[in-house]
Symmetry: D2
Subunit: 448 residues, 4 copies
């Protein structure tokens, strides 16, 4: 009764697995097993009980429907799951069953399980991110000298290089990943506070159980339980939203460059159910679809932070699904974008033709700058504007219409003014910026 | 590999079924069958082909994994589904297979299928809404005379009745339902435009197929295809967000009234995995959790409206999952709140004791108003404020500390001032408002 | 110390005036004056006091700084404003000063004042909306026969008309306006409940004062005070978000059509500070900027609905600024879009050239449909796909490459297949849809 | 025509000044002056021109209305401002006027100016944050031993200390500040790319001007211009949203603890316009109002990241107002919360009485844990649950009803079971956690 198909574009197999019923239950049972071992190790519970519980906490025949009913009745999945585990242990060893979940509260096991699900998802996201970085890095190198139009407000501006364009993409992705990865690291902490965050029921054993449990699960120990302090997950989702925004910017650019009328880059693309000639930016559409989800999910996480006292009424209960949706959408976006960029086709001839089709008007700024010291800026601007209009109306090149003006000809004479209309000579710091961006994105420079 | 458990609080069985893979596919096939019948009826496709396709468009062995792969490759589920159906039909009758999906585009079948899923969900939401209205209406009648504290900024204000409080809840729910239901009605339209919204491939048959198809599916015919005009769904989700907000307001109030220190109403509640004495507002927590999701989902729908030309890159692709999440969260909220309100316990004695525990300071406004015409408003306010402070510090009642002031005694003498401290005599228009709210919420008054 | 410039694109002069300090204070004083008159008329306060207050409640020398300090201290502007008015009245007539604000609470005056500010803003929005409808309607008529490319996923699909495209814009705007205008009507209600929504302090005069006050302000009487029931404003902002989304869709389309490489429509546009040749879609940029604000503002309004008991802690306090921002952004969007559409230039020659530049591949669907009954759909599709690829690689037209295939030639022979590549003959129901959309958008059809 | 009053609770004087017209213009002129000096220093423009421009770029008589008109016409304030400056310079020295804005584009000056406005705002936010940290730190020390109820889902759970509660608040604030401050640091970079991010018009002087300009303005040099890469501001606002969420959690807790029926802490509070007895949590209301704005503003920033090519149509144009709103709301929240916490009254007697009023049922978990090893967990839980119910119904203490059960008496005999009901002996790791949180929040531990 799930909706895998409706959500299909917003996740991947690996990511939906990381948040599947199976992995969630396994993670919750991992917590209970680790708790039993840690408790037994320090004497909080009897050693044999610990062994029995740890041995029994495996995924066997789980009744998902029953868990769902129990979860809805109590507004937490932990209660029916702990009950099911207790029954399971009691069938083996009634004495041991006394010590199931010893010292923990519902939120401890559930929050920690979500931390573990996130860790599993992260591994696959890391791999896709590495693929994307590598693909972008490659393109940024290959196209260091590929000249193309820069477009501002969707209008031709001045020349740039595709190498710089890709390096800008790379920079955005690398910077926002750096922040997201730091946020991820901060989520990898144990949740363990007992009934109300004091571990009171464990008495003197509290610190030892806490340490043992964290060690078993390979999680850091936070300064204190965080039942109602949700900044870690909120930051993780919020900065994941920024990361996804950086991906979406690339997808939007590619989809625009892939327009038939522009035709400068192409993804492999998908088809149409009715039009044989169509080659659709299916990868970009998927990345953008994922990105559309993030702002709203981030808003929900922030809104949920305002939790009541030591455990909230509703704020906490909305988080896990939001985290799962956000991580899957962000992760699907990077997976699909990595595929898209890895298979991108670049048409450098079309890029040049598109520059040429502007008939040189994109050099109007350059001509103005060259002429300004001789004519004054305002007069230079006026003359060039007139030349641009003349070129636009007549279909001649700006080089020609500039030459119509004696003043401009004189002001630009030192150059042989045709040289002003060669894109390669008007790239400014494009390559310097490209190199700085690539350097800053290297793993050596950033920790993540 | 789905996450039914993580999403468990944010849907119900009926709602998750309405958006299940099974129902989605069935709805898409219903579209294709209806299209075949409508096409055959008017001669757009051969009659036998129509019959074969309509007969074959049934859910048989569907390979969800293959559909998912195909959907991801093309950024639409329709392409692999239509291919699967075509193969299925071709196995029966290769001639008929030529006419599968005749005249339609991917978005036609998918959008219409989502319309049908929404219709299925709506039926269950309507039933839960009716239960909630009825339960609120009953409470508002029963407690017409149940006196309690009104609280503003979480501080005792003046007396009110629980009947009015519930009637206010009822009013908010009824009004926002009215708007939501109108929005729902507007979603129940066919999507049918062919490749780019002109139905060009159907030529002269277009109008007849459109009419037949809408009739088969019992959907209205919109003014035109709405491939890139998404106001209907955006409005539906946005006004569903308002409806859910009205539900959440009730849940927040109940959870506050159920505080141990307030203790005026109680839901049946859920337990704690570690504390035997706990009775948690599990229903309220669930309603509030659902409500936390809506603002973000609405933001996504609005953001998705800005679609490119005749079909968007990404905006459309993010919608269906957002609609499904929103409808399920809103629907789960009303289902759970209906349960909660149906089983609400009201402690009218505690309500009265809570009034008494304020020792009459909540009548300070009343005393001021009574004294103001005699003493001037400022002087009256000053004297009453002093009496309130004296009552607060000394633990005496305001009636007593007011009597300490000769001026106040004189100003209030006409009343026998003790009468001023009886809640039942300071309810103002509470009952008039209660009745107006109830009347306005009746089905006779509103269409929905 | 305001930031008119930072907010400059997100409002208009008329709209920022509607929410200015001046108009807000004037509206609050209008409430107090009307309250005094209504109270005096029914004997709730002495007739002379009513006259004095009503006469004094005019904007004179207001100390904005002092009001701001008082508002921040009490988390409501009403307290310092009522104090200032009381002092002002007391200077004229100390007796009358006793009756200032008689029976009302802070929220009554503030909420009602915001209702009045919204009304003022609405008038200017209505006028701009009417301009936009008219401009779109004109374009949709003029360009009934202007043939252009439909583009799906930013790729050429099949031909359509600019008239239908504009009519689709018109339909989205008209439908979402209809809903928004209904929501607006529902906001035009009085807020009047006294301390906690019972009007207790007015006793038997409550109904008469309520009626008189509503009449004075030309507002409807709601079923009950709505201090903590915020569905009306939430709906208004939410459906305003949908309306703005419909505007933004148009702006996005125009900005895409105005790309140098597409060049089909042009707004008058703005310039660049450095590039003389630039003609930027400044109007579209502004409309889209406004639209970017709405989803977040709507989310805030929905989030704010979850208010505590009879008056909330914070939820209410965030609303007015959110309403003001949302109304201004939506209103600026329609004002600027109306300007943009009124001055839109359409290049129908370029539209035709852009169709021709696809060399007929956009008719691939048509050819497939024509051939399918003869060859079977799959074979037809395969042959046409091959012809498309051949056309793409060779730069020949699809008409030519189709003719390379004997099977296709035979299947299409009845037509003289060149006729298949004429856009005017493949517009399907474009004009029928155009007419239906225009008709549905007429004021006669919709109430608003 | 501004709305200072409507926005009054969502900013402070210092913050609204930082984003005022005055400071914005001053910052833009600072950029132009610094650009002139840097250009002159390296020979990009003549030395005298640099001196004249730098000298003239001061705020004199600015025509805000004219700037607003120009900004709206061009969708950027930079164009009319640069024109105004050019005219101003030309009046002094026409030759120098040629070199105004030399090499920069509109977005360079505007983005950098917003960076400078943010820096000014940050200084005041830092001071308020320091006050808040200090106030929380003090409370966490003072109340190390102040016993109170922990409340989960708004129900009494087990005892905790107010010191731990405050330390949890402190931890959330300190952690989320750390992240926010890092994000802030990353915003403090120059924007300087010229027409399309290549600085082409500056040729060989580009690097020198960039360095000089950054030095003049005391900003870091980014890897490259970031005209369409908006991760820095998006991260800043997103993590500011998390920070504000941590503040709001405190405000919500205080407002709940300040309820008349709880009465454990009090802010100084504001009054009511009609009820003399009211003491409202005005500070909390303001903090929560600010916090309600952030999720939506963050969503807008994330949504705006998806920018087109080298400069976007609308995405960029929506950012500055969003940043200004977000920084002001976050900054107002911390300023008001610092005031609130600095003046918080704590009633430790009431905290103890509230524990006592539970008649010991909050020790049910403890009793169960003590009895479980003797009776088995399930039997222990059943017996304790019965005792809790008996206590609830009869109004006796749990200590008494536990003693009714011979089994429980026996199981607990080793203790003298009354000792189990002393809160001070059931605080578990409360103090250890408190100390860890305080230590982690110290400036020595965190960089910020």
């Amino acid at each position: 009764m799930s909706s895998r198909l409706i959500d299909g574009l917003l996740t991947t197999d690996a990511l939906s697995h990381a948040f599947s019923d199976e992995v969630l239950i396994e993670s919750m049972l991992d917590f209970e097993a680790a708790l039993a071992r840690a408790g037994a190790a320090c004497g909080a519970i009897p050693m044999p009980a610990g062994a029995v519980i740890a041995g029994a906490a495996r995924l066997t025949a789980v009744d998902i429907e029953a868990l769902l009913r129990g979860a809805r009745q109590n507004a937490t999945l932990s209660i029916p799951l702990v009950e099911a585990l207790t029954r399971h242990v009691a069938a083996v060893d009634p004495d041991a069953a006394r010590y199931v979940h010893w010292g923990a509260t519902s939120q401890d096991v559930y929050d920690t399980a979500i931390v573990l699900c996130v860790r599993r998802a992260w591994r696959s996201i890391q791999a896709d991110h590495a693929r994307l970085l590598s693909a972008l890095g490659g393109l940024a190198e290959t196209h260091a000298g590929t000249v193309m139009l820069a477009r501002t407000l969707l209008q031709p501006a001045v020349p740039t290089t595709f190498g710089l364009k890709v390096a800008e993409w790379l920079g955005g992705v690398a910077r926002s990943w750096h922040v997201w990865a730091e946020s991820y690291d901060r989520t990898q902490v144990l949740q363990f506070g007992g009934a109300a965050g004091t571990l009171a029921s464990l008495g003197e054993h509290a610190a030892a159980v806490e340490e043992g449990l964290a060690g078993e699960l390979d999680l850091a120990i936070p300064d204190a339980p965080w039942h109602a302090q949700r900044d870690r997950f909120a930051n993780f989702v919020a900065t994941g939203g920024v990361y996804t925004g950086s991906l979406a910017k690339i997808a939007r650019d590619i989809s625009l460059l892939m327009q038939y009328e522009v035709g400068e880059v192409f993804e492999e693309g998908g088809g149409s159910s009715t039009m044989p000639h169509k080659r659709n930016p299916a990868g970009c559409a998927t990345v953008l679809a994922c990105a559309h989800r993030l702002p709203g999910l981030v808003a929900t996480m922030l809104d949920c932070m305002v939790q009541e006292q030591e455990r909230s009424v509703g704020g906490w209960h909305a988080e896990a699904a939001t985290v799962a949706d956000a991580v899957q959408a962000a992760g699907a976006a990077v997976a699909v974008l990595a595929d898209t960029v890895e298979h991108l086709t670049v048409d450098h001839n079309r890029m040049r033709r598109n520059i040429e089709s502007t008939r040189g008007v994109i050099f109007a700024e350059r001509v103005t700058f060259e002429a300004a010291p001789h004519l004054g800026r305002e007069r230079a601007a006026d003359l060039v504007k007139a030349a641009v209009q003349s070129a636009t109306l007549s279909g001649r090149t700006l080089a020609d219409t500039v030459a119509d003006s004696a003043d401009l000809r004189a002001a630009l004479s030192s150059h042989g003014h045709a040289a002003l209309f060669v894109p390669e000579t008007y790239l400014g710091s494009a390559d310097a910026f490209r190199l700085r961006l690539i350097r800053a994105s290297l793993p050596a420079t950033r920790k993540h």
